[in-house]
């Protein structure tokens, strides 16, 4: 079942937040009301006019009061596959894009007694929407925000405006200026939930500290979108439809399948949500997702085509 709807939007404002991060306001066409969002939700932005049709997931920063627009923040990734560069260099006010209906893989656990938010760099974006959903009660909300330097700290003024005591910014290079995650997690009252969004190293450090300190896994929340990485090209045999498709080095398996006109359900395009799970009939899968269990991965019977690839020259799928 494909439960995704594509909504046409126009860019109505662009704001430069830092030298590397731009905020885009995406307004629905024809006065359509957009679905309400919840803190941690994301949408996939489709860039139809690009030389290749990028589909990148971005956290929703905010929605306008009249539900006519969303804002997203995009970091320019020089080493990426081109979607963010296109957003930065080609998209102007008036440009037309498409977005998917929002989904949320990183929701707030509303029964928590305290919310401990840990952000690194562009990982601040989902938390901007969190802050609108969480009550500002002293001692129940903290945001620990790490950046390379203050110049690279997006939304800093907004954060200072809306947060009282709970904002901690780490902008230094020295070890003692950086957030000590182990120390932070070692001293939290019962009922605390930690949420982390940032570079993989930071997410891993939070997961490691939480495990070492005996945190229950249900109190640890993380956003694990990962931009698909390039890899060796390989051929895919679609046994059901009898087609053979080439997956280029700079292309994902999901994109190659979509280019053949196959409609595959997706949401995060980052190996996290599980919607694009596909059955493997033959070939040696190189798993790069966060969704399949270790057992499923070693069985070599399933693949997440949004990020994963094939180690052998040929992959056969039940499509």
């Amino acid at each position: 079942m494909i439960h995704k709807k594509i909504i046409p939007v126009a860019v109505t404002a662009i704001r430069e937040l830092t030298p590397l991060i731009k905020e885009f306001t995406l307004t629905a066409q024809d006065g359509v009301k957009l679905p309400p969002i919840s803190g941690g939700g994301h949408t996939v932005v489709v860039m139809p006019d690009a030389d290749k049709p990028h589909k990148n997931p971005y956290s929703l920063v905010a929605t306008s009061d009249d539900q006519s627009s969303y804002t997203i923040a995009v970091r320019r990734e020089e080493m990426g596959r081109g979607g963010s560069i296109y957003m930065h260099d080609q998209v102007k006010v008036g440009s037309e894009l498409q977005i998917s209906t929002p989904a949320n893989l990183f929701p707030i656990y509303k029964l928590a007694k305290k919310h401990l938010l840990v952000a690194g760099g562009i990982g601040i974006t989902p938390f901007m929407a969190y802050l609108k959903d969480l009550p500002f009660l002293d001692g129940t909300l903290e945001l620990h925000y790490s950046v390379r330097s203050l110049e690279h700290a997006a939304f800093l003024d907004e954060l200072k405006d809306v947060m009282n005591d709970g904002l901690f910014v780490y902008a230094g290079e020295r070890e003692d200026e950086r957030v000590n995650l182990h120390k932070l997690l070692a001293d939290q009252p019962l009922g605390t939930h930690v949420y982390v969004c940032g570079p993989t190293g930071m997410v891993d450090a939070v997961l490691k500290a939480a495990e070492e300190l005996g945190w229950p896994s249900g109190a640890v929340h993380y956003e694990v979108f990962k931009a698909p990485e390039t890899g060796n090209p390989f051929m895919v045999q679609l046994r059901e439809s009898g087609k053979t498709v080439k997956v280029g080095a700079n292309e994902t398996l999901l994109e190659a399948l979509e280019n053949q006109g196959l409609e595959i359900d997706y949401s995060c395009r980052g190996g996290a949500c599980g919607l694009c799970k596909t059955t493997v009939l033959d070939g040696d899968v190189e798993h790069r997702d966060f969704y399949l269990t270790d057992e499923e991965k070693s069985s070599n019977k399933l693949i997440m085509p949004c990020v994963s690839r094939c180690k052998s020259d040929l992959l056969a799928l039940d499509l």
Partner: protein, 202 residues
């Protein structure tokens, strides 16, 4: 009762097992539940570090076995209180100073166990952090589905509601939110027709 007939909401219990992933342990035992804690401590052996463990027990003499395991080790804290009520009242102060990474072990009469679970849930504890075993009386707290009043320490299949006085059939449906079993009018079909009252919950 066969597996198929069982009411799914009715709690089932297994002996407490120690979860070594926790960094701090809080053991709460009431009456016969103290023996259940002692059994767990014996089973845990060296994996349970007394210096990271606090014990709060009471409402009953504990056995010689329990005495050996609770009395002689250097626990970080050890309190013995006189009644289930005193135990329940003492818990919030302990939970207030506990940190994430704690595991809570609760053993005792079923009604006591769920009273402690309610306090733990108020503190936001997840099921992963909570280990329970009912040991001792299975006397029930019964919520009247007609007047909503609770009748405490029910050991018979039929009981007079402490609120509205109706004779209630004590059903096996258990509400975790109310910490009580459900009771409903036993003569609802034919008024005045009562089956024999027998002791069933010990």
């Amino acid at each position: 009762m066969t597996e198929k007939d069982a009411i799914r909401s009715q709690p089932t219990y297994s002996p407490l097992t120690f979860d070594a992933k926790g960094k701090f342990n809080l053991l709460i035992g009431c009456a016969q539940g103290i023996d259940a804690l002692a059994d767990m401590v014996i089973g845990a052996g060296e994996t349970l570090d007394p210096s990271n463990t606090e014990i709060l027990i009471g409402a009953g003499d504990y056995s010689d076995d329990a005495n050996i395991f609770f009395g002689e080790k250097a626990y970080r804290n050890f309190d013995f209180l006189c009644s289930a009520e005193e135990l329940l009242n003492a818990i919030p102060a302990v939970l207030d100073r506990m940190k994430m990474g704690m595991r809570l072990y609760v053993a005792g009469p079923e009604q006591f166990v769920w009273d402690v679970v309610a306090v733990a849930k108020d503190y936001g504890l997840l099921d992963e952090e909570l280990h329970i075993e009912a040991r001792g009386t299975y006397a029930r707290r019964v919520t009247c589905s007609h007047c909503k009043a609770n009748t405490e320490n029910v050991i018979t299949n039929i009981v007079d509601c402490a609120g509205c006085g109706l004779k209630l059939f004590v059903y096996d449906h258990f509400s975790r939110r109310l910490r009580a079993y459900m009771g409903f009018r036993v003569d609802a079909e034919v008024h005045g027709e009562f089956p024999a009252e027998v002791e069933v919950f010990r």
